[in-house]
């Protein structure tokens, strides 16, 4: 009996307990509490809890943090179903919560994604400690330090990139890395190669600075995923994305010399799965100026219209389609003061026109619940037209390019072993024609090269100590057969303050002989190509450049760099020491030494190399005050016809200092001081009756200053500044400027600014 009673009691208790439990569950659901766990996957593949991760409902103040076991609980919010999970050093994740009681969140290490961190306070320009590539990330704040105007002018505060004038007429600023001309740096826009071939020289001026959200500057070779062309480095630009916060972003700029620029970035959507942004740019320079008093305009007059549209469409979970198009028209006029470029008469005139149309598409698919596994398909079509007239030289060029790149990325076992693989097709059709004087044989370049290939890149992460990225690609060119591009990047953290990087790899590119050297037409020098060995009785009516025997350029690049973080009087400081060696196996040599009245083009026979040492110190002696100091050594030599000589126009020694101070009331002061050493100059010794130049230029100082004030509540920024504050000028920049049609005329010997101090001002308004 007693036993029975006891049994009944036990049953009752059980029942009670279960009911209670059930009730409790119901109760919990009524209160609607979301529970979850936040984890990370370590490089060894272990799943560990993240303590202290911040979890909150999007657009609300309701949030919590995870405990030492990674657990959290948070009441459901009536107005938000999007849960934001963030933790320092990890990519912020946003989840759509349908009503499940428990969620598992696996955060991804930000460094594995190689993304620019935006969610917490970072320096405006920095090199990630954990990136195996030597990449400087420049964000919008850094770009604001040099308010004017386009990509070619955005590197004033970055000592890794040099900007040099190519000639005294076109106003073109050429980008140099590691002492090598711009064509040896791969320029890409959101990882699609953008400035190539005949648009090489002017290309950077086609990207307005205001359109940019950031620039990544990689010294040495980039990833094989982005192709085989990079040799000295890679410059990747990122436009404002479709996720931009601002409804409208306006910028206007006015500089002495009548340079006027207007920019507008408009977000066209308010919300939803289809998001799109429109970019507009217009610029005009209307005043003819002659600061250095040589009878020639210092900067061309001209105008540019530039329109870009981009969209992002989230089609379904994990699948999105991004794309856009761009249309550009640019015109530059220059020459002797007062010249009418369309009817120059006896005056020297320069006219440079460029039109570009491009469209691109990117399909991205991330596998559900497998963030490490994704596929992407990038495509771009571009059409570029150039027309140029330099006195009696006429040039016309067209390039039609198609680029297709498919990337698949995943892991092998754990996220310690990652790989990317895929294939690419790159096609370039060139149609160029050059007529130098009326008496010479026209030079034509009509050729199409299709390069198709496949790549594989493996990344080994033993974080935080060691990273290895080893990539290889095999490509086949329709003209020059197959070639292999291997690349290797290593990163080793000696301590948590010191990191060592090493890289080695091969790059290959087909030179666009006329397009890349178009600005050399600003002289009476005659372009000399190899003699053709043709068994023909009929005299040629034109010179086919495709038969000149130019081989693709091939270079090996090796780099070693040290990054050390330390404290200088309690304040953070960083020291960078980089050494890069580039050695050409094959190069298109552009020889201006052999003869004062010619430019010879031929294949490299012998050695050609560039050594570059850079020592850079970044200190922050006070909060909001940054100092960047750099010294750079360049030794760039090529075997010319006569002998092994230093490349022209590359200074051996350079020093750089940048000071940036910001007050709490958002006044910013930026000052950049540069010292540029002597540069070797092309030969002018043959000009017995004309003008002569020394064999090297003078050393000189350049400095820029800018003051800006930010009115945060109004979204308004105002700035004024001066470039070339010391008003330094190369007074004698054009040889025989008074007789531009004789054989001694040469406007390509520019080693310093021809325009004096330039004062400017402008505004930015974000709404």
């Amino acid at each position: 009996m007693k036993i029975k009673k006891r049994k009944a009691l036990t049953r009752f208790l059980y029942l009670f307990f279960f009911l209670g439990l059930q009730l409790a569950t119901v109760h919990a659901q009524e209160k609607r509490i979301l529970r979850g766990i936040v984890t990370e996957t370590t490089d060894k593949g272990n799943i560990l809890p993240i303590e202290g991760a911040s979890i909150h409902w999007l657009y609300t103040q309701s949030g919590t943090t995870s405990d030492s076991l990674g657990h959290f609980q948070l009441p459901y919010h009536p107005n938000s179903r999007k849960l934001v999970i963030s933790y320092i050093g990890f990519k912020t994740d946003t989840l759509l919560i349908a009503g499940e009681p428990f969620v598992k969140v696996a955060l991804i290490n930000r460094n594995e994604l190689g993304e620019i961190a935006v969610s917490y306070v970072r320096k405006s320009s920095e090199v990630s400690f954990i990136d195996p590539f030597k990449t400087t990330l420049m964000n919008e704040k850094e770009l604001f330090k040099a308010a004017c105007c386009n990509l070619s002018e955005s590197f004033e505060t970055n000592p890794s990139v040099d900007v040099a004038f190519s000639d005294a007429l076109t106003g073109t600023k050429q980008i140099q890395m590691l002492g090598l001309a711009s064509q040896y740096t791969l320029m890409s826009q959101e990882n699609i190669p953008s400035t190539r071939g005949i648009s090489m020289l002017q290309g950077p001026s086609f990207t307005p600075g205001t359109w940019l959200k950031g620039i990544q500057v990689t010294k040495g070779q980039g990833s094989v995923v982005n192709g085989f062309e990079s040799m000295a480095g890679q410059i990747n630009t990122e436009l404002h994305s479709t996720e931009t916060k601002e409804r409208l972003y306006l910028n206007s700029y006015y500089g002495a010399g009548g340079r006027t620029e207007l920019n507008m970035v408009t977000r066209l959507h308010t919300d939803g799965k289809f998001r799109h942004v429109l970019f507009l740019h217009g610029n005009t320079t209307f005043l003819e100026t002659d600061h250095n008093k040589d009878g020639f305009m210092d900067n061309p007059t001209g105008r540019q219209g530039n329109l870009l549209y981009r969209f992002r469409w989230d089609l379904s979970k994990g699948l999105s389609w991004m794309g856009g198009f761009r249309v550009l028209d640019d015109l530059r006029n220059s020459g002797q003061l007062g010249v009418n470029v369309d009817n120059p008469g006896k005056l020297y005139a320069m006219k440079l026109g460029a039109q570009r149309q491009e469209a691109w598409s990117k399909l991205a698919f991330t596998f559900p619940r497998k963030v490490y596994k994704s596929m992407g398909l990038q495509m771009q079509f571009a059409n570029q037209n150039n027309q140029a007239r330099f006195g009696k030289h006429n040039y016309g060029g067209q390039q039609q390019s198609t680029y297709i790149n498919f990337i698949y990325q995943s892991i092998i076992g754990t996220t310690n072993h990652k790989f990317k693989t895929g294939f690419s097709i790159q096609s370039d059709r060139f149609a160029e024609r050059l007529v130098q004087f009326d008496t010479l044989l026209p030079v034509v370049w009509n050729q199409q090269e299709v390069v198709s290939g496949a790549f594989f890149e493996y990344t080994l992460n033993v974080l935080p100590k060691f990273t290895l990225v080893s990539g290889i690609r095999g490509d086949y060119s329709s003209i020059f057969n197959g070639f292999i591009t291997p690349r290797l990047h290593l990163r080793y953290a000696i301590s948590d303050k010191t990191v060592l990087r090493a890289s080695a790899g091969r790059g290959r590119r087909l030179a666009s002989v006329l397009g890349e050297n178009m600005t050399l037409l600003a002289s009476s020098r005659v372009f000399q190509f190899p003699k053709l060995n043709l068994q023909t009785l009929v005299p040629l009516s034109e010179y086919p450049l495709s038969m000149a025997g130019f081989r693709p350029e091939i270079a090996w690049n090796y780099g070693l760099s040290l990054q050390h973080e330390f404290r200088l009087n309690y304040r953070p400081a960083t020291l960078h020491i980089d050494f890069f060696h580039t050695r050409f196996e094959n190069q298109l040599v552009v020889d201006r030494y052999e003869d004062s009245r010619s430019v010879y083009f031929y294949n490299l026979e012998g050695r050609s190399y560039s050594n570059n040492l850079q020592i850079q110190l970044e200190v922050e002696p006070m909060r909001r005050f940054d100092i960047r100091l750099a010294y750079r050594l360049f030794d760039t030599r090529t075997q010319y016809k006569s002998q092994l000589l230093n490349a022209p126009m590359v200074a051996k020694h350079r020093a750089f200092a940048n000071f940036a101070y910001e007050t709490k009331t958002k006044w910013s002061f930026d000052y950049t001081l540069q010292w540029i050493g002597q540069k070797p100059l092309p030969s002018t010794s043959g000009n017995h009756h004309g003008d002569l130049f020394a064999n090297s230029s003078e050393a000189y100082w350049l400095s820029n200053v800018q003051v800006s004030k930010s009115f945060k509540n109004q979204g308004l920024d105002l700035y004024v500044g001066a470039e070339n504050l010391f008003n330094f000028m190369q007074h004698h920049a054009i040889l025989n400027a008074s007789t531009p049609f004789d054989e001694y005329f040469d406007a390509t010997l520019v080693w310093g600014p021809v325009f004096g101090r330039m004062v400017y001002g402008g505004m930015r308004w974000k709404w």
Binding site: G52, S54, S68, Y120, N569, Y570, V619, L629, L673
Partner: protein, 114 residues
């Protein structure tokens, strides 16, 4: 080049000069996350403070300051005014209640084992 060297020398000189007058101390400040870190460190962006760094895990704030320009009491006060309790000062409730959810360390402290 000479000017640049001179500048470096002057800067280093200033640094050494400043070093002699500073004091370093560690104090406990309550908070939770990286947002708290930014807020605490920004509160000490003041004259006389050379360095202020707060550790999320240990809740310890390392301050290097010049006692002739700013007192330790003032430092506590500045932190409290930004919404964070210290071992000596308490943040006003009005400021504390305005903090974002993840920073509400009083209700939802995120404490480390040690």
């Amino acid at each position: 080049m000479k000017n640049l060297m001179l500048l470096v020398v002057i800067l280093l000189g200033l640094q050494v000069n400043a070093q002699n007058k500073t004091e370093k101390t560690t104090l406990k400040v309550f908070g939770n996350c990286s947002q708290c870190k930014a807020r605490i460190e920004n509160a000490l962006d003041q004259k006389g403070i050379k360095m202020a760094e707060w550790n999320i895990k240990s809740k310890e704030l390392v301050v290097v300051y010049n006692p002739t320009k700013i007192s330790l009491e003032k430092i506590h006060e500045l932190i409290a005014k930004s919404g964070h309790d210290t071992e000596k000062a308490t943040a006003p409730d009005s400021v504390y209640s305005e903090l974002p959810g993840c920073c509400l360390y009083r209700e939802n402290p995120h404490t480390h084992e040690d």
